[in-house]
């Protein structure tokens, strides 16, 4: 218990670091994932190929390798950014591939006949998309996106090993200060549980509200 009370500010910093990292990476992943999903269902062949390559490569890349390439590799191109931005970039791009696949399978669950019906009513492409297809796709996509973002929060632990302030990284300072290492980790674990359970609760609420079963 002493470990927590004595170092509450250190833990708080690490906790905030993980929350920040998760939040910004989630935003990037959602935006990128949406864009790539749009590419993958677009009628333009080259965009589809680009989307497919993006998803296939990133889904099969070990995240540590991606961090290694981004955090240590990009500076060789003269791109020097704070470590936290690098971490957000790596986490966001990696997760975008999974978000894209969730969105795409969500769009594919909408029966083809619905689009045809919308068009035969004389709806334009924009209208079809925004009044018929997307609302339904959105509903079926909430749970997989939730679990992808939970995975993102857990994956953010890797950033700590690449000099970003986050929760797991606090163990280093505390073990140097000579605190009981087991209790140090217990509080780190509690911190992660708080974050993942909050995301899980948030998505449960969203699902209850919007995720109507078809």
């Amino acid at each position: 218990m002493d470990v927590l009370t004595d170092n509450i500010s250190l833990y708080w910093q690490g906790f905030l670091g993980t929350v920040e990292l998760t939040f910004y990476s989630s935003v990037l992943a959602l935006v990128l994932g949406f864009l790539i999903a749009a590419f993958r269902v677009s009628p333009v062949g080259s965009l589809r190929v680009f989307g497919t390559v993006w998803v296939t490569v990133l889904r099969n890349t070990p995240l540590t390798l991606l961090f290694f390439a981004v955090v240590l590799g990009l500076p060789r191109f003269g791109i020097v950014l704070p470590f936290q931005l690098f971490a957000i970039l790596a986490l966001g791009c990696y997760t975008s591939a999974f978000i894209c696949e969730a969105l795409r399978s969500g769009i594919n669950t909408v029966p083809k006949g619905q689009g045809e019906a919308a068009r035969s009513l004389g709806m334009s492409f924009g209208q079809t998309l925004h009044t018929v297809v997307l609302p339904q796709a959105f509903r079926s996509v909430i749970p997989p996106i939730g679990s992808t973002l939970i995975a993102l929060a857990k994956n953010s632990a890797i950033a700590g090993a690449f000099s970003v302030t986050e929760l797991l990284g606090t163990y280093k300072t505390l073990s140097e200060l000579g605190y009981n290492i087991i209790w140090t980790f217990v509080w780190i674990a509690v911190g992660y549980l708080i974050i993942t359970l909050s995301i899980s609760a948030l998505f449960n609420v969203l699902e209850k509200r919007y995720g109507v079963a078809r």
């Binding site: 080259s46 099969n60 390798l65 590799g73 060789r76 769009i107 995975a151 993102l152 163990y171 290492i181």
Partner: protein, 288 residues
């Protein structure tokens, strides 16, 4: 592709022409992006001979091969052990004894909610275990509990009638499981199991962070060598395709199995729904 979604009609001649123009613009944009990257590579001198010579040396090649071997070794241990642990935990969760079920559920939920890296670091730092066993143990705990859920949903997905029929024949629970349910569930679960093994393979790279001498670690050694002008990008260019290729091979294998099963009359006959590795459960891990 286009005719399988609700989004588009099959395009007519004018739309096709428009799409062709979009296509040309998009191709040009992508080509420009790639060109810019290649220009950056040349501009920062990544293709100078000095940066690529290390790969000609036998010692360095051996170092890389050894790293790759260590990666595969960790993967093999982790894969086998997580299958075993998954089996044990799934058995626990399907047990008829309430305390056993509770303990198994608690373990599964806890290990799935923790970042793998936290577990690996805990075992490595707090319990002072060697890097390889620490890595394998961390991967086993995480993937084992995910696999337990896969097994459980797989067994529950087998048609209820099968179980009832087996009990009606006078089989015991163990017999029902081993003769009737598990053989059918495993077939249906195979793609999900292999996809989970891809996660385990990807996560072996976490060993790099606890100084396990795996593939990425070998790369880092070469990359930070001053004698070769810090060949950082070349190392990434050599290592990344191998790593990604390995994972893709395994992913493709999973897809292939899944596709083959969709055609197979044997799996259709027993009507086992293909389950995902717990993606829909809140707090559950998807493939990342």
């Amino acid at each position: 592709m286009t005719d399988s979604t609700a989004l588009y009609d099959i395009p007519g001649p004018r739309t096709r022409k428009r799409h062709r123009i979009y296509g040309i613009v998009a191709t040009a944009a992508i080509a420009a992006l790639l060109g810019w990257i290649v220009y950056l590579l040349f501009d920062t001198g990544q293709f100078t001979a000095a940066k690529w010579t290390p790969f000609e040396y036998k010692g360095i090649q051996e170092l890389l091969l050894q790293g790759l071997g260590n990666t595969l070794k960790a993967f093999a241990y982790a894969a086998v052990l997580s299958l075993v642990l998954g089996g044990i935990l799934a058995t626990g969760r399907l047990s008829e004894h309430r305390p056993v079920r509770w303990i198994a559920t608690l373990l599964v939920e806890f290990f799935r909610a923790m970042p793998v890296l936290v577990m690996i670091f805990f075992i490595f730092v707090a319990l002072k275990v060697q890097p390889l066993p620490a890595l394998v143990a961390g991967l086993t705990l995480y993937n084992g509990s995910v696999l337990a859920e896969v097994f459980r949903t797989g067994i529950n997905a087998v048609d209820r009638g099968q179980r009832e029929a087996a009990y009606a024949l006078g089989m015991r629970k163990t017999q029902v499981m081993t003769y009737v349910l598990v053989p059918q569930a495993v077939r249906a679960m195979l793609p999900a199991i292999i996809s989970q093994l891809v996660v385990a393979l990807k996560d072996t790279s976490l060993g790099y962070l606890i100084t396990y001498e795996e593939f990425l670690h070998a790369g880092k050694l070469i990359a930070s060598n001053l004698d070769y002008d810090l060949p950082f990008i070349p190392v990434v260019m050599v290592i990344a395709p191998i790593y990604i290729g390995l994972c893709m091979l395994l992913s493709w294998f999973a897809n292939w199995v899944a596709k083959r099963q969709r055609r197979s009359p044997k799996t259709e006959a027993v009507d086992v729904a293909p389950a995902e590795p717990g993606t829909l459960l809140p707090g559950g891990p998807p493939r990342p």
